[in-house]
């Protein structure tokens, strides 16, 4: 996080709404996509972003270290999106409909991306969170363990089981293609 961002975070902690909004806008793609990975549709992902923004703003005074703003907010997004995912119990796995509408459909690498997203969409929540934070956000295991309040070993287990699950889902997809 650069000095300008740090200043914004400090302002936000003091209750400056415009600074807070600016910070979230800077990271809007990452925030939205993280939420989307749980709920798999735009409507719910936007609801999760809205709820996370509200919750974060009402509790930002509790953020002690400005440099952890983004990890702190990511954790809130994951909680809100996860809550929505469980509450609704109507999880639509990434469907052909969504996948076929991803941009750049002519890209030969896209098929693999589609399978990967689809597989992530089928993972159970704990595995999914570990995979998203580790592979998409690049957070180290120690930080994930702090963010999710779970022991490092559990993060490692979730990661390795998540990976195994992804492999299995890939395999099923391959079998379907060839069978």
């Amino acid at each position: 996080m650069d000095a300008k961002d740090q200043r914004l975070v400090k302002k936000a902690i003091k209750g400056n709404k415009a600074a807070f909004e600016r910070l979230l806008q800077q990271h809007y793609e990452r925030i939205y996509r993280t939420a989307f990975l749980y709920v798999n549709n735009e409507e719910d992902a936007l609801d999760a972003v809205q709820e996370a923004s509200f919750k974060a703003f009402t509790s930002i005074h509790s953020l002690k270290q400005p440099e952890y703003f983004l990890t702190w907010f990511t954790r809130i997004v994951i909680r809100c999106a996860g809550d929505l995912y469980r509450r609704k119990n109507k999880v639509v796995p990434l469907s052909d409909e969504i996948l076929s509408n991803l941009p750049g459909h002519a890209d030969p690498d896209l098929e693999e991306s589609e399978q990967l997203l689809d597989a992530i969409g089928h993972l159970r929540e704990g595995y999914r969170t570990a995979i998203i934070l580790f592979y998409y956000h690049d957070y180290p295991i120690k930080l994930i363990s702090e963010m999710m309040d779970i022991p490092e070993n559990t993060v490692k287990t979730n990661l390795s089981r998540g990976r195994a699950e992804l492999k299995k889902l890939y395999q099923d997809e391959e079998d379907k293609c060839h069978g």
Partner: protein
Amino acid sequence: MDNKKVKAAVEQIPVPKEKVFNAISEGLNQARPKKKRKVATGLTAAVALVGITLGTGFVNPTMNSVLASAPLIGGIFQQFNDKTGMELAHQQAVTELDQSMTKNGVTVKLTSAYFDGVAVSITGFVDDGVEKGQNEPGEVSFDVNYGDGQGDRDSWLSDRSSTVKKVKGGYDFQWKMNYPYETIDENEILPVTIHSINGVKGEWTFDVPLQQEEIMRTALDQSHEYKQDGVTFHLKEILTGKASSFLVYETVQKYKDDDIRIKKARDEDGKVYGFGNPTVLSESQEEDGYHRTLRVEMTKPASAIDSLTFYPQVDVADPKVEQLLDQDGFTLKSERLGLKVQVNEITERGDQVVLDYQLLGLPADLSSDRLELLENNLQYELMLVDQDYLDKIDPDNPVPPKHHGIRKNTVKTIEGKTAHFQSTFELDGEEPFKNFTLENTVLQFDFSNFVSAKELKPFEINLNN
């Protein structure tokens, strides 16, 4: 698997920037959490895919040849990643505009318009006079109306998306929308009134000629009925413009609030077709049920296809059930889903109310995942409400009335195998329940959140009818 692959995959998810910004801003400004965002179309579960590259049929020619034939206009669409626009520019089917107006030191210039089938785009430029407005640098927001629309009721606004790019001396912008009416006039003048930009007031007014490009209508006129589910689809026509396609269909449904949608379609060659957000063209209640005519953007069909198989689904809306807590035990029944809640015991213990109950009608042998989900849903789907305040609950935003209702409860699983649970409500929580008595309190239960949307059997229609 490596980070790069995951990142590349995740980055394929399209991000609706303006909507995300709105969600952030609504979140920061809302007085209380869980305020439901307004859904423009009124269709609650419609998967929002507007603004994405909805199969425009544009694969090739390469960008360079597009830009070579339409350098200026094509370049505008390229920066907005609007493939319909690029394709139309390539076909010289974009109207160039040169209308400009200055008010209070801010100049707006409209530069182009297209009207492909029902997809409408207007592009323009606003100079850096907007920076004296109230927004942060880099942000431009318009308060604008189209047609004769007034304020938020403007039908053009319901699915409009807007994009802004910083350029030298100001900002380029694009507004995209779908033609909101059922019948489409061939040539139309669309009045545009910008009331303010970044809070800078003024009336910037323009008349934009919308010249509708040639549109091909493929009549379908075929129906498919799902008797058991009380749903009929009547496929009316496919409208195909130069770069985009739309499906027009009517649904007749027995249950007004069921959410019915077509998830996808597939042609005889296996190609999958996606659908955008539907525009509701008309709604009425008739003898045979609730009628709704919709028009939805779809992947452009390949020219030589003979049939399309549609994959619909229905999300059943089961009315909430209610029961006064003035007796020891009772059973709540879902009208349509074959589910029941059997309340065995209600205990009032100091500031707590404890409900002991079983969910009946669920599949046997619930997996641990499914149980976890159930437990979680139960936290939110049992609501206690003071019966004198029942009529004060807004049906669109059914939060419990302050101090006269409780939503959240703590769930404990007594026995997973028999779906036996206990819910504990804290009467003295954040918003204490005033004057609570069991005799005057109603339990509300929403069964519809305990079943998933039902996939209906796909049906095929002939395109050469």
